[in-house]
Amino acid sequence: MRRRSMWTALPASKTGAAKVRHPSRNVPRLRALWWQTPDRRTGATDLLPGRVSDLGARLLSTGEGIVMAPTGILHKITVEQAEARRSEILREQGTTAEDLRSRAGRYELDAAGVAALAELEDLDYLLGETVE
């Protein structure tokens, strides 16, 4: 299923000049805050061990004021859970991994299919079954 061209999604006026505010409207203020964060001041922006200890303390300015930035989430699964989830994905999609990859190569997957294949390939990688 080939998605329709973006041209057909454009309104008749199609000038691209609508007065819509982008959610990143606070960028200047965010940038100013970011410059004040510790690892920014030291220039230590890489992932070297011991350099990212203050990652959890970053502040963000949002429409609701200054808030703590969210932190990454660690998800630990067992091999058995990974294998079960892999089977569940294929069952939900009603197909095989090979078919999913083949359809992805033809851009025939919808959003759910793309997400399913991405999760499947993550699991394959973690389980040591990387696919060329």
Partner: protein, 249 residues
């Protein structure tokens, strides 16, 4: 390793997810945290990091349109178990939901041994990119400038979009373009062209590496010290890093 204990895969993968989360949450209002996944137990070294939700980060544009961003990373601890190493990454942007063909995507596959560049940009249909350029609204100076030109009668074109490719130090070289022309477009080349390209690329990257060291001498000194070198900073201390070189697009 000097100065700090070896940190676990769990810690480093979580920090990687946190660092990306901070970047995205600092730009996109209400962005959800990235998720690092590792297998529990055993001596495994692999990790994955992905955006949340699994279906991608929906980003509104003007006129009710939206694009969806997905970003996924796969990697492992290095042989010494000290550092994370990203082996593959895929950052994709779709028009609407994240299905079908992406508008464009940046991909890296450090395990690849083919003629496809290990780090590359792929663009979708030209017409889609042109339409995308017309939907930028007025959220930035570049978008306002383009909108003004479109309002005055200029048709949106795909080449109105300028894709970043690594900044001052890590941009592609002439050798990269030459190799692409030969490998992917079939441009006839001399028998020894691979050696010429490799030699030129090696010289280019060495020059850029030296320049990058001058951009951030302390980072270079720290890396050398961790590799066993004795590095003494000048009496006046490390010069400050070049914020411009390190941060500008």
């Amino acid at each position: 390793m000097t100065g700090s204990a070896v940190r676990s895969l769990d810690e480093q993968a979580t920090d990687f997810a946190t660092q990306i989360t901070h970047t995205v949450a600092g730009v996109i209002d209400g962005a959800d945290p990235f998720v690092a996944t590792v297998l529990d137990g055993g001596r495994r070294r692999q990790f994955t990091v992905r955006q949340s939700p699994e279906t991608g980060i929906a980003l509104p544009m003007s006129e009710g349109a939206l694009v969806t961003l997905t970003a996924r990373f796969k990697g492992a601890l290095d042989k010494q178990g000290h550092y994370l190493r990203v082996e593959t990454s895929a950052i994709k942007v779709y028009f609407g939901e994240a299905g079908g063909q992406p508008l464009f995507r940046y991909e890296y596959d450090g395990l690849r041994r083919s003629s496809i560049p290990r780090a590359h940009l792929q663009v979708g249909d030209q017409q889609d990119l042109a339409a995308l350029a017309s939907l930028s609204g007025e959220a930035s100076r570049t978008a306002r400038h383009r909108a003004g030109r479109i309002e005055s009668g200029m048709l949106p074109r795909s080449d109105h979009l300028h894709f970043p490719v690594g900044g001052d130090r890590f941009r592609p070289s002439l050798e990269d373009v030459l190799e692409m022309l030969v490998e992917q477009l079939g441009v006839p080349a001399l028998p020894d062209w691979r050696n010429s390209v490799a030699a030129g690329r090696r010289a280019w990257r060495t020059t850029q590496l030296r320049a990058a060291v001058r951009d951030h001498p302390q980072a270079a000194a720290d890396a050398l010290a961790e590799a066993g070198y004795t590095v003494d900073p000048p009496p006046e201390g490390h010069p400050p890093p070049s914020e411009e070189r390190l941060t500008l697009l």
